[in-house]
Amino acid sequence: MTLNGAGFAELVREHQSMVFSIAYRFLRDRAVAEELAQDVFLKLYGELPRLQSPDHVKFWLRKVISHRAMDHARSAHRRHEVALDEIREPAACPSRRDPLLEASVRKLVASLPHQARMIVVLRYQEDMEPHEIGKVLGLPTATVKSRLHRSLAVLRGKAERLMGEPIR
């Protein structure tokens, strides 16, 4: 694909919420997510001649931002920054209509290990099928399915403890 400035700006606007959200939902840090998203779009510009179609661009963006976000989380962990998966579950027990419920769910997701967390983000934010997630993360579909299943079980258990009622 070859684009001029206006065409590239249009492409960025089309995909910016997807790219930013994958990083943001994974890292839960708005500034870092924007920084990573900008880096990925910069890299995209250089990569455009090798990408054959809009679907190829979308796949490439999802793949690169997912790996960038996980790499960033790993390096942040090595630098002993506040690790998101060490954040404790919320102490309060929000009711079903509590506006903080979604924030609680996001905190629970943040408690998952890196790869499992990215699988959950891609599955529920991007509505991707396990085989598509496998292609993006370079994992077999069976591995994606088993990690997703295990993550949901963990999340369900934590959510039940948090809310005090069973969740199907």
């Binding site: 070859t2 684009l3 001029n4 400035g5 590239f8 700006a9 960025v12 606007r13 910016q16 919420s17 997807m18 930013f20 959200s21 943001y24 939902r25 708005r30 997510a33 924007e34 998203a37 900008q38 779009f41 910069l42 510009y45 001649p49 419920l101 979604e102 924030a103 769910v105 996001r106 997701v109 959950v120 983000v121 599955r123 529920y124 934010q125 509505d127 949901l152 999340l155 369900r156 959510a159 969740i167 199907r168």
Partner: protein
């Protein structure tokens, strides 16, 4: 879809980056000196490739031409050798025939000469 799926979908829905994300990106690209004019993809048959292809073609044509000329020359030499042998054979046959004829002429001449003729 179960409760957990719904909760996760709601909690993880997409968010937009801050306003002006794309403009900031383009400004950053301009500062970094990234050229935003459409790039012309380098053709597969670039000049160096064509040059090498032309050189190889010229060498191939030259070698083929020389080989053909050598082949023609050798064929002509072989034909000339065969022709020479045939001429030599023909000359030998002719020589042999002439000798036979001469001997016969001599023999006939000897019979016609009477003893009185030789004084």
């Amino acid at each position: 879809m179960n409760q957990m799926d719904e909760k996760l979908k709601r909690a993880l829905r997409r968010r937009n980056p801050s306003t002006g994300f794309a403009d900031r990106l383009l400004a950053r690209m301009a500062v970094d000196g990234i050229d935003m004019t459409p790039r012309i993809e380098r053709p597969k048959w670039s000049w160096p490739t064509l040059r090498w292809a032309a050189i190889v073609t010229v060498i191939a044509i030259t070698v083929t031409g020389i080989s053909y000329r050598v082949h023609v020359h050798r064929s002509q030499e072989a034909e000339a050798r065969i022709a020479k042998q045939q001429v030599m054979l023909a000359l030998r046959i002719t020589g042999a025939k002439l000798r036979i004829a001469r001997d016969k002429v001599k023999a006939v001449g000897g019979e016609q000469t009477t003893p009185g003729d030789t004084l």
